[in-house]
């Protein structure tokens, strides 16, 4: 909380369009946080599948990341999620990894 002005919480994560509403104000299509959250979960699971991980809803503010062995971690945003993913997958998740890119391409 901001001790000077009493605002609770911080600005949202930069990947969430609610963190910068002015940047996305011109968006024509109806947009909701819930829809954005669903889309984020769907897409990130395409990536996480390569590592045997899956992200699911936990509450409005966080997600639960599950590994193959049942280990879980609660994460609040994508930046936190990648650190947890390394831990649960026991490997470095790297977007430049050619094997990952082949997985995303369905090859």
């Amino acid at each position: 909380m901001c001790a000077l002005c009493g605002v609770l919480g911080g600005r949202g994560h930069w990947t969430e369009s609610a963190a910068a509403p002015e940047a996305f104000a011109s968006r024509a299509e109806a947009h909701t946080r819930a829809r954005e959250r669903q889309q984020r979960t769907r897409l990130v699971n395409r990536v996480l599948g390569h590592y045997g991980l899956r992200l699911g809803d936990w509450s409005a503010g966080s997600h639960v990341l599950r590994g193959r062995t049942g280990r879980t971690a609660l994460v609040n945003n994508l930046s936190e999620m990648w650190a947890a993913a390394d831990d649960l997958a026991r490997r470095d998740c790297d977007p430049l990894d050619p094997d990952l890119l082949r997985h995303l391409a369905g090859r």
Binding site: C2, L4, L43
Partner: protein
């Protein structure tokens, strides 16, 4: 106070540059401009003499001196405290009202932790935002310092403006060599020379990607860093280089966020700076992104596209990373959201 738009928060400009490169001389000149009189200054003194502070103290009354040497991660608590104090004093009317803050770092400082402090600190993030990073480079010694000191390379790589100082003392060949080195390390920052009339005090501190009036001019600087002139962009042993990716297909914001957070998690130490003008699917106006190492600031926007060109353009300044692999990776991530897009449409 309601959490306001990022663009409405007080900007913090960082003036950095290697030892003896003329940071304080530049600052003194800027603060003499009437338009910049409402500027608060934080000076990070280095060494026992504190000469920099003595030079500047008569220019403005709102100077706070940080005591602990270098403004790196180890002492950013001091910066946090100094900015909180400044904020309290402004709200209480104990200091003249200021519209911007300038932090002058030491000659050995890494500017990145300052950007991190502004975004991560729970009080500061409501009141301050990053403005521009201005780096001074000595025309005579700058090229040698870039070869010898990684601190100097980092300061150049993360800059929004590069100010070449002491140009009257340099031979023409020295200036040309230095200019080439600066372009290799950072192709998006304008290179301005003190003494050539290049320095326009008000816009130097006010133009940045979040300033409503100045952001269009700022984007013009980025767009001049056109792709296609990347030959010989690799520099010496540090292998820091810059390149611009263009992307024909509209980017899915969600996929882009997944990709960028993953890239910065794995390679953030080597991604020194990212600036981008993005064509985001479903958003008619361009979205601007701004990152310093692991830290990405909230996106901004332009009210309209600056030209008919609707390509996304992203400038990377990286260490030991391959441009083609980054380009291919972004294309692959974008395709999972846009299965009909052709892979590899990054030009």
């Amino acid at each position: 106070m309601i959490l306001g738009a990022y663009s409405e928060q007080t900007p913090i400009n960082i003036i950095t540059g290697f030892l003896g490169s003329g940071k304080t001389t530049l600052l003194k000149g800027l603060l003499a401009a009437p338009d910049l009189s409402d500027t608060a200054v934080l000076i990070n003194e280095f060494g026992a003499v504190g000469l920099d502070h003595e030079l500047v103290q008569n220019v403005t009354e709102s100077i706070l001196l940080l005591d602990n040497g270098c403004l790196c991660c180890a002492i950013r608590g001091d910066l946090q405290g100094a900015l909180r104090d400044l904020l309290s004093q402004r709200q209480a009317g104990e200091v003249p009202f200021f519209r911007r803050v300038v932090i002058e770092t030491t000659g050995l400082a890494d500017p990145a932790p300052i950007a991190y402090t502004l975004l991560a600190e729970p009080v500061l993030q409501h009141h301050f935002r990053l403005g521009g990073i201005i780096t001074t480079v000595d025309a005579v010694n700058g090229a040698n310092q870039l070869q010898r000191f990684p601190e100097s390379v980092k300061q150049v790589a993360v800059a929004d403006r590069l100010i070449v100082t002491k140009t009257d003392l340099a031979a023409p060949g020295q200036l040309a060599n230095l200019h080439a080195s600066l372009r290799r390390l950072n192709k998006s920052a304008p290179v301005l020379k003190i003494g050539d009339g290049d320095i326009q005090p008000p816009t130097l501190l006010t133009d940045d990607m979040y300033d409503t009036a100045g952001r269009s001019r700022e984007i013009e600087h980025w767009l001049r860093a056109a792709p296609g002139d990347d030959a010989l962009m690799h520099d010496h042993a540090d292998q820091i280089h810059s390149f611009a990716l263009t992307y024909d297909t509209a980017l899915d914001w969600t996929a882009f966020g997944i990709w960028m957070t993953m890239l910065l998690h794995r390679h953030g130490d080597n991604v020194l700076r990212i600036k981008g003008l993005l064509n985001v699917a479903g958003v008619p106006t361009p979205v601007l992104i701004n990152g310093v190492q692991h830290i990405v600031h909230p996106p901004s926007h332009l009210p309209a596209w600056p030209s008919e060109n609707r390509q996304s353009r992203i400038i990377f300044i990286v260490r030991d990373m391959d441009e083609e692999r980054i380009k291919t990776s972004l294309a692959a991530f974008n395709q999972i959201a846009n299965p009909n897009a052709m892979p590899g449409q990054a030009a």
